[in-house]
Amino acid sequence: MNQDISDLLQRALKDDRAALARLLSIMENNSVLAAEIELSLLPSMGKSFVVGITGPPGAGKSSLINALIPIAAKDFDRTAVIAVDPSSTFSQGALLGDRVRMNSYNHSEKLFVRSMGSRGNLGGLARSTVSAVSLFDSCNWPLIIIETLGIGQIELEIAEVADITVVVLNPGWGDTFQANKAGITESGDIYVINKSDRPGVHKTRIELEESLALIPHRSRVPQIVETIANTDTGIVGLWHTIAESLDSKNTDLKQIRELRQQQLFHRLVSFKIEQALGVATKSSLWKNIVSQNIENPEDARDLLDNLLLDISTRLRNY
């Protein structure tokens, strides 16, 4: 198993698509392995840009990505797309259909589309989306586009992973997404009013501008772009805006890298703690918490110390 993974990694790094695809599955299926793989990728990470596309279902995220791909190809040698769709809470199964819309470049070697079921993750990404980003990054995919779940709720997770977050909305958005306005307007670097062939574009733009103005501490006011994804209208402009934002961050590539590194270690550590905790809670010490006789604050403190000691020993032993 371990040797297998190591072989796969070697192959993937040498541009073997099937190996890369297999590793993505392994990371999806096993988050422990995913974490370890990521750790091993650290030296080769930090070369790619990550663009997140978020917004409610049906807003046109997949269609926009489809339209962007050929244009992005002028600036980036190759593009990887990770498209997340919801998994059924009953069966854990999923229908993943984003790929259908991304057919403009379908059989080009320069595009890698990967569909992911959210598998119970709530933040808009799949459990292993972040790990997948690390892998694509290490395997020399200079542009990685993530399409989030788009459950219409606040999807802040993407903002942590992506260098640029593009929020896709439609005319009339203000009427239907009142409750979520705050969340949506906090997460984006660029706002797209897609389906601007429909009525209400102007009104939506004004509402959006108003909501964005309410957010304090913005270093720069996000741009608003109007598009019609299925007729390629406004797409060049959108790409231009994205590329510009990326450029402005390009000077800080080092910073991005450092940030990713930091995030990765945070993630790995909290993951390990979670794991240790998971095992620990099954031990008699933890199971007996309920039956402990706690008569004064000292007792409580002692118990806590014991538990922390137990955890730290467990962590150290890993």
Binding site: L95, G97, V100, N230, T231
Partner: protein
């Protein structure tokens, strides 16, 4: 534990609770007043004319065709020789439905599929081959063009050929289909013009026929395609009338031909005749009643010649099984019976090899034979509306009318029929029903003989299906190149430019320009390119 089949829980396909027996008092009061009417008179449910099949037997009308235009021509002639009384042209799905020529990459990637379920007709030359020697002047002809974006080309080609053969366009009778149910609900193509553009094309065809071709049924709304995609009988009816209203309202808005002409044109429809015999017969009766009501209430049209719906029926392909295919001859007969009891004007019976392939010659012949037996031997044609006055069927008719109007209203609440296609609302309804139907089979609540029960098969006949020809693609490619080489290039270019201009203008009828383009041997794929450029793509509302 064995599941008990509950005696008191039998519902019809439309979800109407069925009683073990019916009496006069079951017939709703309002409908009771209708029971004594005569066929041919309002409220029309009893049939379109008093003498019924005695004076005019239903038309034997079978979908047919494959391969090269000459293959299709041969099959149609075979059917006519065997007793078919009208003829239907069928076009190749890959090229026709997408308005692609055979050299389009999507077609090239599937070249063996070309001609599998209809003949390839890329220019008027091909249509001429297909129509060679067919009784255009004396028979009711179906030009094909089932899919909306293809219909203008298919019709223009048929008319151009007819015209060249010396027929007067004002005198020929026939139809195309140009059906929204097929195009946007039943079989969603890889690429299609949006519904709004589709509505415009259909209105253009209706308008054009209203002016130039009084005997032609310009578009034929096919409840069949909705029903076999999953809609229940009440939904089939409700959506069909909601669809008709979209056409008629558009024509009324244009105000360029008398609305009566359009109403007459839209009054040639098709339904599915499925296997639950009395409900299906009641459906045909309900349909006539509803059409009369709709025309008089909404458009103030009461002239019986117009308010009388004319129905073509096709037996439900989806009831035909892959297993023990000979059983399908029985199913075909029973479904045909339901249509005839319902008083339809025209009928096609699915082949017994329906689930395997397009019909073989023998399956086709059997479909004709079934109809001939019904017409010649059973005396079914003697009395119009034989079910009239049946407590059960009259009640079902009335209940279907009510349920169907309810569905019609639901569609209106969703913004109308087109809006329901654009939003996927209708697809969801169909999919829910499909799922329910399938689960009933899966769980044994509904039996399917030869498939979920009675599986033993000792038939000595191998039914292998029909594979057609294998040279359709090559011949089509050659012909495409030839026509492009031989045609008068500058007039083709000019006509194509003109068509483009007309498509982009909003209030010029495209049909005259289409006729010119077809006459100038502009090809199907070139017309498709103009459409795609001018109208764009429809957003498919469901995940396929």
């Amino acid at each position: 534990m064995k599941k008990e089949r509950k005696y008191d829980d039998m519902t019809s396909a439309a979800g109407i609770k069925l009683k073990p027996f019916y009496t006069q008092t079951d017939i709703p009061q309002k409908h009771r007043n209708f029971v004594d009417s005569a066929p041919g008179q309002a409220p029309y449910h009893r049939g379109s004319h008093e003498t019924g099949y005695r004076t005019k037997p239903w038309r034997i009308f079978q979908l047919s065709g494959y391969g090269k235009p000459e293959d299709e021509n041969e099959r149609i002639k075979f059917l006519l020789k065997n007793g078919e009384t009208g003829f239907i042209m069928e076009h190749d799905r890959n090229t026709a439905d997408h308005c692609y020529n055979v050299d389009h990459p999507e077609v090239l990637a599937r070249r063996e599929d070309v001609g599998l379920t209809g003949a390839v007709m890329q220019s008027v030359r091909d249509t001429a081959i297909c129509l060679d020697g067919l009784p255009i002047g004396t028979s009711f002809g179906h030009a094909g063009g089932a899919v909306v974006q293809h219909a203008p080309f298919a019709l223009a080609a048929y008319w151009t050929v007819a015209n060249r053969l010396g027929y007067d366009l004002r005198k020929i009778a026939g139809t195309g289909q140009s059906d929204f149910n097929l195009t946007y609900l039943g079989c969603i193509t890889k690429q299609q013009i949006p519904t709004k553009a589709g509505l415009r094309l259909n209105a253009d065809i209706i308008e054009f026929c209203g002016k130039e071709m009084p005997r032609w049924v310009p578009v034929s709304i096919a409840g069949y395609n909705g029903a076999d995609s999953g809609l229940t009988p009440d939904q089939e009816l409700g959506s069909l009338f909601a669809n008709a209203v979209e056409y008629l309202d558009e024509i009324k808005k244009r105000n360029s031909i008398p609305l009566e002409l359009a109403a007459k044109g839209c009054g040639g429809v098709s339904f599915r005749a499925s296997i639950r015999i009395f409900e299906e017969a009641a459906k045909m009766r309900a349909a006539r009643l509803m059409w009369g009501e709709l025309l008089s209430k909404r458009y103030d049209i009461t002239e019986p010649k117009i308010a009388n719906l004319r129905i073509h029926c096709v037996t439900a392909g989806s009831k035909m099984t892959y297993q023990q295919p000979l059983n399908n001859i029985v199913r075909g007969t029973l479904m045909a019976l339901s249509a005839v009891l319902g008083g339809v004007q025209s009928l096609g019976v699915s082949g017994y090899d329906e689930a395997l392939s397009i019909p073989s010659e023998h399956a086709h012949q059997m479909s004709v034979r079934i109809q001939q037996i019904l017409q010649e031997e059973t005396q079914l044609t003697a009395v119009t509306d034989p079910l009239g006055g049946s407590f059960y069927v009259e009640t079902l008719t009335a209940e279907l009318v009510e349920k169907s109007w309810e569905f019609y209203e639901e569609i209106q609440e969703q913004g109308g029929y087109l809006a329901c296609l654009d939003s996927g609302w209708l697809h969801t309804k169909a999919a829910e029903n499909q799922h329910r139907e399938f689960m009933a089979l899966e769980q044994g609540d509904q039996k399917l003989v030869g498939v979920t029960s009675a599986m033993e098969d000792i038939s000595p006949f191998e039914v292998e299906g029909f594979m057609g020809t294998d040279d359709a693609f090559d011949v089509a490619l050659n012909r495409l190149n030839t026509v492009k080489k031989e045609r008068h290039e500058s007039s083709a270019t000019r006509c194509l430019k003109e068509l483009e201009k007309v498509c982009l203008s909003e209030n010029v009828n495209i049909m005259p320009a289409m006729m010119d383009a077809v006459a100038a041997e502009v090809t199907l794929g070139e017309i498709g390119d103009v459409f795609r450029e001018a109208f764009g793509d429809w957003d498919v509302p469901i995940q396929l």
